[in-house]
C-alpha cells in the first residue's frame, strides 16, 4: 500500500512507516540534519530538520515524523528556512571557540550547515559553554566546550558499541553529556573502542593528540 504525499508541490509515493526525511532523501530533496544519523535511532533533539506540514500548528521534525496519506509537506518554505537559521544561530551562540583553531573544522557538520543556511555571526548574546578539556584517556579526548548536545555519542555507545558510558545530567542550558558522576572520561570506564568518535558532528570527541604527555605543567623546551 503506497501513500500519496505532496512534497514541495510534487506528488510522490511513500511506504507506510517511512519518515519524512527518508521520503525526501529518496526523492532528492536535501534536508539538513544534525542529531540524526542513519545508523542510530531517531531522537529529534536538534530541530534542524524541521519541515512544514500543512494543518500542523507547529513545524515537525522530519527525522522522526512518519508520513501519512495526503500529507502536504514543504521542506524549504520561508518559515522553515528562517527557523532553521535561528536554531543554528542558537547552537553557534553558545558553541565556543573559533573554527580556524579547531582540528575538526574541515569535517564539522555544524559549520557545514551554518554555511549552507547562510548563518554568519549569531545575533544572540548568551554565555558560552566552557568546560575543561578531558584528555586523561589514551583512547578518547573530550572537549565539551564544542558539544552541541546532539547525543549521537550517547546513542552510538548504547546502540552500536553496546556500552553505557555516557549519560545526560543537569537541566536546561546546563545539561551536558557526563561519564559516571560527571567525571572526566578515563581509561577505567571507556577503553579501546572509539566507536563514538566518528559519530560526533563537531570537534567535541576526537582521538587524543600525540603531544599529550608533554602538555601539562611542563614548559616547552626546544632542543636543537
Amino acid at each position: 500500500m503506497a501513500l500519496l504525499v505532496t512534497l514541495n508541490g510534487t506528488q510522490v509515493r511513500g511506504r507506510p512507516g517511512q519518515t519524512i526525511l527518508e521520503l525526501a532523501q529518496e526523492n532528492g530533496v536535501d534536508i539538513p540534519t544534525l542529531c540524526h544519523h542513519a545508523d542510530l535511532s531517531p531522537l529529534g533533539a536538534c530541530r534542524v530538520c524541521v519541515v512544514e506540514v500543512e494543518g500542523s500548528r507547529t513545524l515537525v521534525g522530519s527525522c522522526h515524523t512518519p508520513i501519512a496519506d495526503g500529507m502536504v509537506i514543504h521542506t524549504h518554505s520561508p518559515k522553515v528556512l528562517e527557523s532553521r537559521r535561528v536554531i543554528v544561530e542558537l547552537l553557534l551562540a553558545s558553541h565556543s571557540g573559533v573554527c580556524y583553531m579547531c582540528d575538526k573544522a574541515n569535517m564539522c557538520e555544524l559549520r557545514k550547515i551554518a554555511a549552507e543556511l547562510d548563518v554568519g555571526l549569531p545575533r544572540f548574546q548568551v554565555r558560552k559553554h566552557y568546560y575543561p578539556l578531558e584528555d586523561v584517556s589514551p583512547y578518547i579526548a573530550r572537549d565539551l566546550t564544542k558539544c552541541i548536545m546532539c547525543r549521537r555519542c550517547v546513542r552510538a555507545c548504547n546502540e552500536v558499541a553496546k556500552h553505557d558510558v555516557f549519560a545526560i545530567a543537569y537541566r536546561g542550558f546546563d545539561s551536558k553529556i557526563v561519564v559516571d558522576f560527571d567525571q572526566p572520561i578515563d581509561k577505567e570506564v571507556c577503553r579501546d573502542c572509539g566507536v563514538c568518535i566518528p559519530f560526533c558532528p563537531t570537534g567535541a570527541l576526537s582521538q587524543p593528540r600525540e603531544t599529550k604527555t608533554e602538555k601539562k605543567g611542563k614548559p616547552l623546551v626546544v632542543t636543537s
Partner: protein
C-alpha cells in the same frame, strides 16, 4: 455567574480520611453505575459531555479515552497527572487534600472504560505530605471492594516541572530521566512502556464521577459552547483573598479577580502560570474559557507597583531552569531570553533586543518539542504586545 461547586462539592464536607463519609455523600455511586454499562457507553457519555482536559491543553477527554480504548494492546494504563507544577496552581492539591475519593472513583471509571488493569497517580515531589492520605484512601476503597478491576499505585516525582508534561511524566514513571518524547506516536496508542495510556489531570478525573452520575446533558448545561462544565481556579498574587475558587466556564475574569479575590489597582493578570498569558487590566472583562484564556487555572494578579520586565524576567528564569535540555530552541532559547531580560532589567537593553526577542520567540513556538518550549516565549510575546513601552524605556539611549 456565582461560584458553583461541582468538582469541589465534597471539599470541606466529607472527611478525607474516612470512606464512610464519602459513601454517605453519594460516593462510588457513579462507579457502580458505570460498571453496569458497557464500556463504550461510558466513553460515549464522557464524549457527549464534551469535557476537555483541565491540565491546560484542553484536549477532549472522551476522544482520548476512545483512542486508547480502540488501540491494540494487552496492557493499558491510566495515569493521573498530579504533578501540579505550574507556577501559582494549587487547585489539585486542594482536591487531593479534601476529596481524594472522588479522584479514585474517576480513575476507577477511566480504567474500566479503556480496559486498564493498572493506574498510576504521579504525585508531585512537593506533595509528599499527601502520600499517606492518598494511600489510605486507596486502601479504604480497595477494602470496600471498589477497586477489583484496577490496581492504583502512587508514584512520586522528583521535583521537575517538565515532568508535568505527559511524555516526560511517562519517562519518569519508567524510571528514566524525565525528558520529553517526540510525537507521534501519541500516548493513547503508545505511552507508558509503549502501551496505550491515557493521562488525565486530577481535576479532569474528578469531573468524571459527576458526569457519569448526573449525565452528560446536565454537564452540558454549564459553560459556553466549546467549554462545558466548571473550572477550579487558584488565585494568588496581589489580592486580598487568595485561594481556590470554582466557577462555571465562561465567567468573566473581572468577577474572579475583583469580586471574589478582592484585588485592587490591578496592572496585569497572568493566566495559566509561567507559560500562561499576560493580559493587561484593559482586558479584564475577558471570559475564562478555552475559547479565550484559561490554561491550568492559575491566576496570578499583579498590582500597579509591579514591573513587567521584572515579572517576565523572573518567569523566564524559572522556565530556563526547568527546561529539560533536550531540544535546541528551548535549551538555548530560554537562556538567551533570560540574559536579554536581565540586560533590559538593568536598563542596558540594546536597540536590536526587541526584534531579536520576537524572532527567537517565533522559532521557539514553532520548533520546540513539547509544550514547555512552545509556550515559554508567551510571557515575552504577550508583554511585548501590551507593554511595549516598558521595554522601549529600558533600551540604552546612546
Amino acid at each position: 455567574m456565582p461560584e458553583k461547586r461541582v468538582v469541589l462539592k465534597n471539599c470541606g464536607v466529607i472527611d478525607p480520611q474516612d470512606i464512610a463519609s464519602y459513601l454517605a455523600a453519594d460516593g462510588f455511586k457513579a462507579l457502580e453505575k458505570a460498571l453496569k454499562l458497557h464500556l463504550k457507553q461510558v466513553i460515549d457519555e464522557v464524549k457527549a459531555s464534551e469535557l476537555r482536559g483541565r491540565g491546560g491543553a484542553g484536549f477532549p477527554c472522551g476522544l482520548k479515552w476512545e483512542f486508547a480504548s480502540k488501540a491494540q494492546g494487552n496492557e493499558k494504563y491510566v495515569i493521573c497527572n498530579a504533578d501540579e507544577g505550574e507556577v501559582g496552581t494549587f487547585k489539585d492539591r486542594y482536591i487531593l487534600e479534601n476529596d481524594p475519593f472522588s479522584l479514585i472513583e474517576g480513575i476507577a471509571i477511566a480504567g474500566y472504560a479503556i480496559g486498564a488493569k493498572k493506574a498510576y497517580i504521579y504525585l508531585r515531589a512537593e506533595y509528599h505530605f499527601l502520600l499517606d492520605l492518598l494511600q489510605n484512601a486507596i486502601a479504604q476503597a480497595k477494602k470496600k471492594g471498589f477497586l477489583g478491576h484496577l490496581d492504583i499505585e502512587v508514584r512520586e516525582g522528583a521535583g521537575a516541572y517538565v515532568c508535568g508534561e505527559e511524555s516526560a511524566l511517562m519517562d519518569s514513571i519508567e524510571g528514566k530521566r524525565g525528558e520529553v518524547r517526540y510525537r507521534p506516536p501519541f500516548p493513547p496508542t503508545s505511552g507508558l512502556w509503549g502501551k496505550p495510556t491515557i493521562i488525565n489531570n486530577v481535576e479532569t478525573l474528578t469531573n468524571i464521577p459527576r458526569i457519569i452520575l448526573n449525565g452528560a446533558e446536565w454537564f452540558g448545561k454549564m459553560g459556553t459552547e466549546k467549554s462545558k462544565g466548571t473550572k477550579v481556579f487558584s488565585v494568588s498574587g496581589d489580592v486580598a483573598k487568595p485561594g481556590v475558587y470554582e466557577l462555571v466556564l465562561g465567567s468573566p475574569l473581572r468577577e474572579l479577580v475583583e469580586k471574589l479575590a478582592k484585588a485592587e489597582k490591578v496592572k496585569t493578570v497572568q493566566i495559566g502560570g509561567a507559560t500562561g498569558r499576560i493580559i493587561p487590566y484593559a482586558m479584564i472583562d475577558a471570559s475564562l474559557s478555552f475559547e479565550s484564556v484559561l490554561g491550568a487555572g492559575a491566576i496570578t494578579v499583579f498590582d500597579e507597583s509591579r514591573d513587567i520586565i521584572d515579572i517576565v524576567g523572573k518567569t523566564m528564569e524559572f522556565l530556563a531552569e526547568e527546561s529539560c535540555g533536550k531540544c535546541t530552541p528551548c535549551r538555548e532559547g530560554t537562556e538567551v531570553m533570560v540574559e536579554t531580560m536581565e540586560r533590559l532589567g538593568r536598563g542596558e537593553g540594546l536597540k536590536k533586543d526587541i526584534k531579536v526577542l520576537e524572532e527567537l520567540a517565533e522559532t521557539m513556538m514553532l520548533c520546540s518539542m513539547c509544550g514547555l518550549g512552545q509556550a515559554a516565549p508567551i510571557p515575552v510575546v504577550d508583554s511585548l504586545e501590551h507593554f511595549r513601552g516598558e521595554y522601549e524605556n529600558r533600551i540604552r539611549q546612546s
